[in-house]
Symmetry: C2
Subunit: 129 residues, 2 copies
Amino acid sequence: MNVDEIIKKLNLKFRNIEGERLILAITCDENKNVLMTAFMNEEALKETLKTGYMHYYSTSRKKLWKKGEESGNVQKLKRFYRDCDGDALLFIVEQKGVACHEGYYSCFHYKIEDGELKITEEYYSQSSK
Amino acid sequence: MNVDEIIKKLNLKFRNIEGERLILAITCDENKNVLMTAFMNEEALKETLKTGYMHYYSTSRKKLWKKGEESGNVQKLKRFYRDCDGDALLFIVEQKGVACHEGYYSCFHYKIEDGELKITEEYYSQSSK
């Protein structure tokens, strides 16, 4: 099955996000740690499926981007799932290096503690990195 | 710290989604299974923090909803994390019953197999329910 056929079968429900037709991508490692979330337009999904590496759509730069293109921290796609209403895909990837541009393994490294937003690695430290 | 102060500290970046100011919520169980993703406006986040139970914002019904209000499948909040750019929160919850309105534990129960979109429970079957 080619990429266009896969996308047709997925029957996605693109959302109006920042004026673009996008879906949500949630990206996890094999240990089920959520690494990041980002948006995808149809082109980003096509590139991801064609190349086997995660591509997203940047609403601020208004363009497609390959994760790790500059940092080398690419995400190799292993498999993915669609949710019930079709506006989100969950991707299981092999993460090279760290996922977050701030240098942390996961983008979800902030927590409110003692009245301040503090950096924590507790969320994903329970599983191997 | 009261709820308004917590929200201020979170320094969230609300997105323009379907014409509303929303953030993304990713909801997981203690075994790191992603149960669902949905949107939140500030009111939904406030109600979640005040009551300790997950509330979301429905873009189709254009209103706040408490997860499990009708089904009884409520989600008790344990803790949560913010991502690096502040447009997404990851909530760890205690899920009563199933998360998906289609009767599955997680909303991510679809996969392309043999050219068809098929229901699978493989994503979350590796961990205890």
